[in-house]
Amino acid sequence: MKISVCGKGGSGKSVLTSLLANEAISRGLGILVVDSDESNSGLFKMLGFEKPPIPLMELIGGKKRLKEKMRNPNVLAESHLSIKDIPSQHLIRRNGLMLVSIGKILHSLEGCACPMGVLNREFLKKLRLSENEIAIIDMEAGVEHFGRGIDEGIDRVLLVVEPSFESLTVAEKIKGLASGMNKPVSAVLNKIDSERIAHKLEGELKTRDIEVIGTIPNDPLVFEACLEGQAIGGGKAFHAAGKVLGNLLSENREMD
C-alpha cells in the first residue's frame, strides 16, 4: 500500500508520516518513507536518522550534472522496481524503517523543480511493494503535485487537517483532485486541543464529503521534538497514530 500524506503547509504532514512510520515498525511491518518535499529538509531527524539519504535526484546527476549523467540509463529507467533495487547509498535504514528522498532545492536560480516532479512520479509509479510493506509519501505542501501527476502511482491519499479555514479549503481541493484520479481520500485531524474543536472540524469535513479516520492531539512531546530536531516517538500523539494506522490497514483489507 502506498499512502500519500497531503495537506496545507505546516498542517503536520511530516509529523504524521513519522508517527505512522514508528507505529508500523512496532507492528513488524516493512515501512518505506519517501521524502517528496523538495523544500523542507528535516524529516530524517524526525525519523531518528543522523543524516539524510543521498537524494534519488543524484542518481541522474542532481540538477547540476543532470545533462552529463542523463546519458547513462539507471535503475529508474526500468519498468518496475522494488525496495531492494534502490541503490544502498540512496536508502537509509534504522530498525526496519527505510527512508528515501527524491530531491531538494539547494540553490537560488537553480531552475524549476520539474525534473524532481517527473522523478517522483515515475519512482512512485514503478515502485512495487510486497504484502507486508507500506510506503508513506511525505508529499510537498498544497496541490501542485496533483497537476504533475505525482499521485498517479499511489493507492490512497491521507489528508492532514489542522484547525484552520485554510487547511479545510486545501483539504476540499485535494479531495476533488484525488477523486478525479480515483484515489480514495480520508483525513486525520491534527493539533487538536479539545473535543469541541475536533467535532467542529469533523463536521466541516463531513459537509465536504471527507471521512475522518483519526485525531492527533496537540502533544507537547511532539512540539518539543520538532523544536529541537529530535526523533518523534512516544506520547499521546503516538498512541493516536496507532488508531489511524489500524484504520488504514483495515480499509486496505476491505479494498482487497
Binding site: C114, P115, E122
Partner: protein, 66 residues
C-alpha cells in the same frame, strides 16, 4: 511540467516517440532525444511545433522544414 513528450506526425497519425524528454540534440537529418532517465533515441525529421506552455510537447514531422 517542463519536460516534454515528443511526437512524430507522419501525415496520417501523431505517434508518441518518447516521454519526459529533457534534452534534444540536432544531428544530421534528425534529433537525438534523451529522457530524464538516460534513455536515448535518434529520430529523423524536422520540428513542426514546440509547445512550452500547456501540454509541453514537441511535434516532429518527416522530411525537411518547409
Amino acid at each position: 511540467m517542463c519536460l516534454s513528450t515528443v511526437y512524430m506526425n507522419s501525415g496520417y497519425e501523431e505517434k508518441e516517440i518518447m516521454k519526459d524528454v529533457a534534452r534534444i540534440e540536432a544531428e544530421g537529418k534528425g534529433f537525438w532525444l534523451i529522457n530524464l532517465f538516460g534513455e536515448r533515441e535518434f529520430i529523423e525529421g524536422s520540428i513542426q511545433t514546440v509547445d512550452l506552455m500547456d501540454e509541453h510537447f514537441v511535434m516532429l514531422r518527416k522530411g525537411k522544414p518547409n
